[in-house]
């Protein structure tokens, strides 16, 4: 028996519903149907009245959650795809994110965003929106990359008094398995050294952590390079201390992300490292993002749009040979 990434999300929600009467779930097709990705399968039956189908109204879904949170509940909202949260953008960044600052009343909502690309999904079912939400003060944005993080960070997200945008990667849903959920107790806001190394640091998050590890494996085989991979886990706030400690060891930085190239997590990581750890760098810090086009639908284009172990290796070789 093993646990997949999406199982972990399901199990976390089950635990939350069981342990905390303030928790309820709201989203399209999440009730009897169990959600487009089955992340809420069986929960409606187990917790009657607490797993509710919403109309196709992303703006109202978040407004509703904010209202419920004001009244002491802990709603978890499932967007059917992260891409559709564009409709809820206003309620997320202007209603939820500003609420504590404006009124002193925190709104503990968790917004689950099924994120990232999968082959054949195209421009509107593949987006990674963490950079958009991280830009706004008042939001916490998490991007679990492991089965255990998918579980524990969802529990932590709901426990947090602030609005959390929980970016879960669709590619990992069934592909990523673990023998069991076995967390290391790292809280939201702390990064993890996924793979230790000494020649260069790759800072990644979400599905790209696994691509980074693959690239690191290859370079190890190829030339004995030891690449350290840092999994950010939380992209807002960034755990810059862990990143700096790693760069202090390796002297080289590649910031890696699946999102669009302008701005975003990789820019923030590089800018923060350069501000606080400039002297630690032995080579110019590099970034690797997707290409600057919408996410293409055809799998062949898609595979060339996002970073791959191959393109990560190329970037790392250049970084190492500087």
């Amino acid at each position: 028996m093993s646990v997949t990434y999406v199982d972990a999300i399901l199990q976390a929600q089950e635990k939350l519903l069981r342990d905390d009467p303030r928790v309820f779930l709201y989203g399209q097709d999440i009730s009897k149907f169990g959600g487009a990705f089955k992340a809420t399968k069986g929960l409606a039956d187990e917790f009657p009245g607490r797993v509710l189908d919403s109309p196709i109204s992303e703006d109202a879904m978040i407004g509703m959650a904010v209202g419920a949170a004001i009244e002491g509940m802990r709603p978890i909202v499932e967007m059917q795809f992260a891409d559709f949260s564009s409709i809820a953008f206003n309620q997320i960044v202007n209603q939820a994110a500003t609420h504590f600052y404006r009124t002193g009343v925190p709104v503990p909502i968790t917004v689950r965003l099924p994120s990232g690309g999968t082959p054949g999904s195209g421009p509107f079912h593949s987006q990674s929106m963490e950079a958009i939400y991280s830009h706004y003060p008042g939001l916490v944005v998490v991007t679990p990359a492991t089965v255990s993080d998918a579980y524990s960070m969802l529990l932590d997200a709901v426990a947090l008094d602030d609005p959390v945008v929980y970016c879960e990667h669709k590619f990992l849903y069934r592909w990523l398995k673990a023998p069991r959920i076995n967390g290391d107790g790292l809280p939201i806001g702390k990064a993890r050294i996924t793979r230790p190394g000494k020649h260069a640091t790759v800072v990644a998050y979400s599905a790209m952590v696994h691509e980074a590890v693959r690239a690191a494996d290859r370079l190890k085989e190829e030339g004995g390079w030891e690449i350290e991979v840092v999994d950010l886990r939380t992209v807002k706030p960034l755990d810059i201390d862990t990143v700096l400690a790693s760069v202090a060891r390796t002297g080289r930085l590649l910031a890696l992300g699946e999102a669009f190239p302008w701005g975003g997590v990789t820019a923030e990581v590089v800018a923060r490292v350069c501000a606080d750890g400039f002297h630690l760098l032995d080579a110019p810090p590099r970034r690797l993002n997707s290409r600057d086009t919408p996410v293409p639908y055809h799998p062949k284009l898609w595979a060339a749009h996002r970073p791959t172990p191959e393109s990560i290796c190329i970037a790392l070789r250049e970084l190492l040979s500087f």
Binding site: S57, A60, G63, G67, I70, N94, F100, T103
Partner: protein, 343 residues
């Protein structure tokens, strides 16, 4: 849906205290807003000033029909009268306009945005229509907690706000959930400078109620007794389990969009029409005629409220303004998000 005539007939049944509460809130709000307008013109106000002149009857009727501590009221920009009727202290208002750090928003947000969400009065964001679903969510929470019985949630919007996607999604959601909610649409004929014919094409905004599956109520917003009755009835229906209700009040905005605006785009003809009647002036006559009050009593109220307003202004003016050095500059309440240092 009672038509005007039927409303007239049943009006005798209006509760005396309720009508007097509605009227007093209207009067107090008008006096307060007149003061705010003067202060604005004297350059004493921090930020913009948006007034409810001409819309007090419907707003106060809503506020007075709700019970603070039990109900939820999300006022919009022209709801000083509703706020007052609901029980918001004057000092919350003057502190916010005059920039006192002791106000409910501590100088972080302003004026019309003030609220006390944990006392059932959400603090609006500017984006029109966005409060509908928030009030819906508050009611959903009450229902899940088993505390919904006898509770009503209410919010107000203008004719223009009905064109927003947020309004639509929110109203539809509360209809699906059959929440005990009242939506008051004050059709004041303009959204800023934009007349209704550039805003919607239906014959009557009330037709929207049926499209959403809401109870629908039309009311003459210039007639305080009609407002007290119709709004009171809508609130009662929602409270008694008849599902969400929509009230459309027809009236005219008697001020500019904000105090910076002279509203010269409002045709004189419209000003002179029935819609342009001042619900407060009209209300004084109605209250006296129908024996709810006397000219003398109203004069006494006016004097007392004028003093109250003056006192609230004076107090707020003496209070400290926010100090950036004492501000803690935190957008999150919890630790993780403050790990980041801002420059």
């Amino acid at each position: 849906m009672p038509d005007a005539e039927e409303a007239q007939r049943t009006r005798v049944g209006l509760d005396r205290d309720y009508v007097r509460d509605v009227f007093r809130a209207m009067l107090k709000a008008r006096l307060l807003e007149n003061k705010l307008s003067s202060l604005y013109k004297a350059g004493k106000i921090v930020g913009g000033v948006y007034l409810g002149k001409g819309q007090e009857a419907v707003s106060a009727s809503l506020g007075a029909s709700l019970v603070k501590g039990r109900d939820i009221f999300a006022p919009l920009i022209r709801d000083q009268a509703g706020r007052t009727a609901f029980g918001e202290p004057l000092i919350d208002c003057t502190r916010t306009y005059l920039g006192s750090v002791l106000g409910p928003m501590k100088g972080r947000d302003g004026n019309i945005h003030r609220g006390r969400p944990q006392e059932g009065m959400p603090a609006m964001i500017s984006h029109l229509g966005a409060a509908v679903s928030v009030v819906g969510g508050m009611l959903m929470a009450r229902r899940m907690k088993g505390e919904i019985a006898g509770t009503v949630g209410a919010t107000c919007v203008g004719d223009g706000a009905t064109s927003t996607g947020a309004f639509h999604e929110g109203v539809n959601m509360i209809a699906v959930e059959q929440l005990p909610m009242v939506i008051v649409v004050s059709n004041n004929q303009f959204a800023y400078s934009t007349p209704t014919e550039r805003q919607f094409a239906c014959e009557d905004l009330l037709d929207r109620a049926r499209g959403y599956g809401l109870g629908g109520h039309a009311v003459d917003g210039t007639d305080v007794l009609a407002c007290a009755e119709v709004v009171g009835k809508a609130v009662r229906m929602a409270r008694d389990g008849a599902g969400p209700q929509m009230v459309v009040a027809n009236l005219l905005r008697l001020s500019g969009h904000g105090e910076h605006d002279d509203a010269s785009y409002v045709p004189g003809e419209l000003r002179g029409s029935h819609l342009g009647r001042d619900c407060l002036e009209n209300g004084i006559a109605q209250l006296i005629a129908d024996g709810f009050s006397t000219a003398k009593e109203i004069e006494d109220w006016k004097a007392a409220f004028t003093d109250e307003v003056q006192a609230a202004v004076a107090q707020a003016q003496q209070e400290p303004t926010p100090d950036p050095w004492h501000e803690d500059w935190r957008a999150c309440s919890s630790e993780p998000a403050t790990g980041e240092d801002s420059p």
